[in-house]
């Protein structure tokens, strides 16, 4: 289920804007958090999230790369080309100071939301 939500839908859904901001924000939060570990290229970010969640949570390229553009546009992530272990150059993304601040805010918001949902579901 979660997988489906996190994926940005395919070409059949032209109205991207109508997707919930929270979900988009969750993807952003995951990417930002992943980049706190170390600067990574896009593929590595995907693998990292997949690995941590034992393949339960997969980000698709179709969602990840637009998200990376968005994060750069806001100044939360910066990118530069540098050699990767395979020898060829790859685009490495790293989190900026503003990105870290944003991550903090998003985590707080997320925690509040999770707590609230849990209360509603009667598990708090």
């Amino acid at each position: 289920m979660i997988l489906g939500i996190l994926h940005n839908s395919g070409p059949a859904m032209p109205e991207r804007q109508s997707k919930s901001e929270v979900l988009k924000g969750t993807l952003d939060m995951l990417v930002l958090h992943t980049l706190t570990v170390q600067p990574m290229h896009g593929y590595a970010i995907m693998q990292h999230v997949k690995g941590l969640t034992d393949d339960a949570l997969a980000i698709e390229a179709g969602s990840l790369y637009p998200a990376l553009e968005r994060l750069q546009k806001r100044g939360w992530v910066s990118a530069r080309w540098q050699p990767s272990p395979t020898g060829r150059k790859a685009k490495y993304y790293s989190i900026t100071a503003a990105g870290r601040r944003q991550l903090g805010e998003e985590r707080a918001q997320y925690d509040r939301a999770v707590w609230a949902i849990a209360r509603v579901l009667g598990r708090g």
Partner: protein, 891 residues
């Protein structure tokens, strides 16, 4: 830092879109490679091609992915813009005639606005055209009416030592007229006396030789060195390669030329005199500024440069704190005067005043022209939109939204406006120079120079106007054109919707209204200029003038008198010359003051009036062709020792003797001028041009040879000539110079040139508004013509039916003319109303005409009515020639 990063990112997306796209592709390729490797690792039995296919499936459509990314990056805006631009340029190229008229129309408006702004910029805003001109400030004592006093050298010293906000303080006297002796002839030139740091502060470097240094500006009257301009070197020294060390005589001293200023450097008195010669301020006595070196000598305007990091405010505070010390240095004593400080931008304060009215008028006119041009173009585009309904419908049925169409149409408008902007900028370079040409020579023949180059401010304004104009003329047509019903438009043949017709009528009405406003103002100014010149009762055609200055050559009065008689007899012997007259200096030969002067009475003890006494030669009035009311003018017999005689003007005669006394009764009467009794021998009309509202000057004329005894000989001559005045002028000045080459002949010009230079504001205002009004009339007439022609084209079928049913040609004509005249009449009425409220703007230039003069208003209304009638009649007549049969068949 991250803000910066974000900005850099956005700029890259916008302006390096190709590179950004390439990087995205590279990154995706890399991603695919890694995915393929992973697929191989997960299932080692698969071959590489299969793994690659699987990877491609996992990653998804490349094109879609890229599109998504571009959208997220905000790059799609640029993509669309680029496509719209290309489409727009193509659309315009397909209709070159339409494109040319649209671009030309908007260019007119932009030319008007840029011209007005260039004038405003150069008069008020522009820093001096020197290195770091924006750090220079002027320091002065403000006086009422925008006048100023110089600080003087002692105060400059106070500023140099005690005001740390300045890193250089220059003292200069840039407005001196001096006589320069070169070899055996003398010329009049504009000189500047400047402190030695003038050159270093302005960052000017010598073209030849050197500039003078501080040691040469330290002792009064010691170092007679001079720097000359490139113009002087070229025109006066004929590019003599041995210019350095050459001696020139100024004010009785011999100066040695040490350097030549660079080409195009005219000094810093912008709007005033271009300098030809620069000398150290310590040599100011050569310019008859004799107090130099003495205490409280207020010679030297101050130009100071702000030290790096010092603001205008810091400088103001410091100068304020020093006011007591500065005043003491300038005036002595302990009264403290306020010291003014302002950026050295535009012209000097006292000079600006003469351009304020013009700037205001020009700005107002320019805006009106721009709005008319926009309205004209807007209505042109509405018509074009109707013609493009099919195209719009096709695009809409292919999925383009209305917003998309509006955007496309606005982009086209922006292309038109930009092309018009470029054209307008180029045109305004010419118009600005033409405009300022009116001011380049003043009534005394002095040159003025202005700084009119294109600069960033003007470019920025032009860009702003382009964007504004795009909205002004583009929005309405874009909205009407995109309001299409695809199905309906594709079926129906082209027809003007009633909404579009109404929009166009409105636009035409607005143009007519503005044209009426301009025409009213124009006819007011023309009538005013007529009135002004109507008071002129002399004939300035074929009269040449010059001023003769024996006083500057040090000639005594006896020598001057002999030379003057010689000049008159030599001139009269010339075949070109009809007659010669002259008047003692110092006002213009043909003018008179309105107030003040010498006391005039009937007996020793009364004073009836104050009149200006003018000393004129025999044949003075006949040379100017001033008709005497009664009596005679002065003859050679009226000289020292004979009965004192005089001529009065009509206004003085009426003031002294009452208006009931006929002029002929005055001949032989005696009046007292100051302390002398004078017998009246003639009466002349008030011949000086003047505003009808200005009171007539009171003037009494006395014979030169009788009343001017022991004077310095400074004289203004008028010579009536035959044939080409320009040719005669050179013959006349050569003849006069031959009498004594050392005596300066100056202010040589035609009398009509002098008169129009004296009233330049009146003539310029008249010319500018007339041209603008003609332009406005033309634009609104073509707008109306276009509207009716278009209506006719749209309603061919209807006309055909009407004619088939028996309508006559004149009925068809009447139908369309009525339509055109209705919008024109409404607009015209609105324009008259607006003019009624706004002509007060030019009231300061109106003489003898009320701002709400009925004749001017009727004239404007009549002109517009006539023009609009013609503009709607022409296409209407075309309509009446429709052949019903063929129009119905085609429709």
């Amino acid at each position: 830092m991250s803000m910066l990063g974000a900005l850099r990112y956005r700029l890259r997306v916008l302006f390096c879109a190709d590179e950004h796209g390439r990087e995205m592709a590279d990154e995706l390729t890399h991603h695919l490679e890694l995915e393929t490797i992973d697929q191989l690792r997960m299932d080692p039995h698969r071959d590489e091609t299969a793994a690659r296919e699987r990877a491609l499936r996992v990653v998804g459509s490349r094109a879609y992915l890229n599109e998504e990314r571009r959208a997220a990056a905000g790059a799609r805006f640029m993509d669309t813009l680029r496509r719209d631009l290309r489409y727009g340029v193509d659309a315009l190229r397909r209709r070159p005639l339409f494109a040319a008229s649209a671009i030309g129309t908007i260019a007119l408006g932009i030319t008007a606005v840029t011209t007005a702004f260039t004038l405003i910029d150069s008069v008020f805003l522009r820093p001096l055209p020197v290195a770091e001109g924006d750090r220079l400030v002027r320091v002065y004592y403000p006086r009422p009416n925008n006048r100023t006093w110089s600080l003087g050298l002692d105060a400059v010293r106070v500023l140099r030592t005690r005001a740390s906000a300045f890193d250089a303080v220059v003292a200069h006297e840039s407005r001196n007229v001096v006589q320069v002796g070169i070899g055996d002839h003398t010329v009049e030139q504009h000189a500047a006396f400047v402190s030695a740091n003038y050159w270093t502060t302005l960052g000017v470097h010598p073209r030849v030789g050197r500039f003078f240094g501080v040691s040469e500006d330290s002792v009064v009257d010691r170092d007679a060195v001079a720097v000359v301009s490139s113009t002087f070197w070229h025109a006066q020294l004929l590019d003599d390669p041995a210019v350095l060390g050459k001696e020139i005589r100024i004010g009785g001293r011999s100066f040695s030329i040490v350097g030549v200023a660079p080409e195009g450097f005219d000094g810093i008195a912008v709007g005033e005199m271009p300098n030809d010669v620069w000398m150290p301020l310590a040599m100011a006595r050569a310019g008859r500024m004799d107090c130099i070196g003495q205490p409280n000598c207020r010679i030297g305007d101050v130009l100071a440069r702000l030290a790096p990091g010092a603001s205008l405010q810091t400088a103001r505070t410091q100068v304020r704190a020093l006011e007591a010390a500065i005043s003491a240095a300038s005036f002595g004593g302990d009264s403290v005067r306020h010291v003014g400080l302002e950026k050295a931008a535009g012209l000097r304060m006292s000079e600006r005043a003469s351009y304020v009215g013009l700037a205001r008028l020009l700005a107002a006119i320019a805006i009106v022209i721009l709005v008319i041009a926009c309205a004209n173009l807007s209505s042109l585009l509405v018509a074009r939109g109707v013609a493009r309904q099919r195209e719009m419908a096709v695009r809409m049925s292919l999925g383009a939204g209305r917003a998309r169409l509006v955007r496309q149409l606005l982009t086209e408008s922006f292309i038109i406006a930009s092309a018009g902007g470029v054209l307008g900028l180029v045109l305004s370079m010419w118009t600005t120079r033409g405009l300022m040409g009116f001011f380049v020579n003043d009534e005394e023949g002095f040159r003025h120079f202005f700084n009119l180059q294109l600069n960033g401010r003007i470019l920025a304004l032009a860009l702003l106007i382009v964007c504004l104009a795009t909205l002004l003329f583009g929005v309405l047509p874009a909205l009407t054109a995109s309001r299409v019903d695809p199905a309906g438009a594709l079926q129906a043949s082209r027809s003007g919707g009633s909404g579009d017709a109404r929009t166009r009528s409105l636009l035409v009405g607005a143009q007519v209204a503005l044209a009426v406003m301009l025409l009213t103002t124009g006819s007011l100014l023309v009538r005013s200029a007529r009135r002004l010149m109507h008071a002129q009762r002399f004939n300035a055609d074929h009269v040449v003038m010059f001023r003769w200055r024996p006083d500057l050559a040090g000639h005594g009065s006896a020598r001057s008198a002999t030379d003057m008689r010689e000049i008159v007899s030599r001139l009269q012997a010339l075949p070109e010359v009809e007659s010669v007259g002259f008047r003692r200096c110092c006002d213009l030969l043909w003018s008179a003051w309105a107030q003040g002067g010498t006391p005039i009475g009937l007996s020793r003890f009364d004073t009836v009036a104050l009149a200006q006494a003018q000393h004129v030669s025999p044949r003075f009035f006949s040379t100017l062709q001033v008709p005497l009311v009664v009596g005679r003018e002065f003859a050679d017999a009226d000289r020292d020792g004979t009965t004192r005689v005089g001529v009065v003007n009509l206004s003085l005669a009426q003031r002294v003797f009452g208006s009931a006394t006929p002029p002929s009764a005055l001949i032989g009467r005696v009046i007292r001028i100051d302390s002398l009794d004078v017998q009246i021998v003639g009466v002349v009309p008030d011949y000086q041009p003047r505003g009808v509202s200005a009171s007539a000057p009171l003037v009494v004329y006395t014979p030169y040879w009788q009343s001017v005894v022991g004077a310095d000989g400074d004289t203004r001559f008028a010579v009536r000539v035959q044939g080409d005045p320009d040719h005669a002028l050179s013959v006349v000045t050569r003849t006069v110079s031959n009498v004594d080459p050392r005596v300066l002949v100056t202010e040589a010009m035609s009398m009509s040139g002098q008169v129009s230079a004296r009233y330049v504001q009146v003539h310029l205002g008249e010319a500018v508004v007339t041209v603008a009004a003609a332009l406005a009339l033309f634009l609104s007439a073509t707008g109306l013509y276009g509207m009716i022609a278009f209506l006719v084209a749209c309603r061919t079928r209807e006309i055909g039916i009407r004619m088939a049913l028996g309508a006559t040609a004149s009925q068809i004509v009447a139908m369309f003319v009525e339509h055109g005249m209705r919008s024109a009449a409404i607009g015209g009425a609105a324009g008259l109303g607006a003019a009624f409220m706004s002509t007060g703007l030019v009231s300061e230039w109106l003489v003898g005409v009320a701002p709400r003069d009925a004749v001017s208003f009727s004239l404007a209304a009549a002109l517009v009515l006539g023009a609009t009638a013609v503009a709607s009649y022409l296409p209407a007549r075309q309509a009446s020639r429709t052949d019903p049969a063929s129009s119905l068949r085609e429709g």
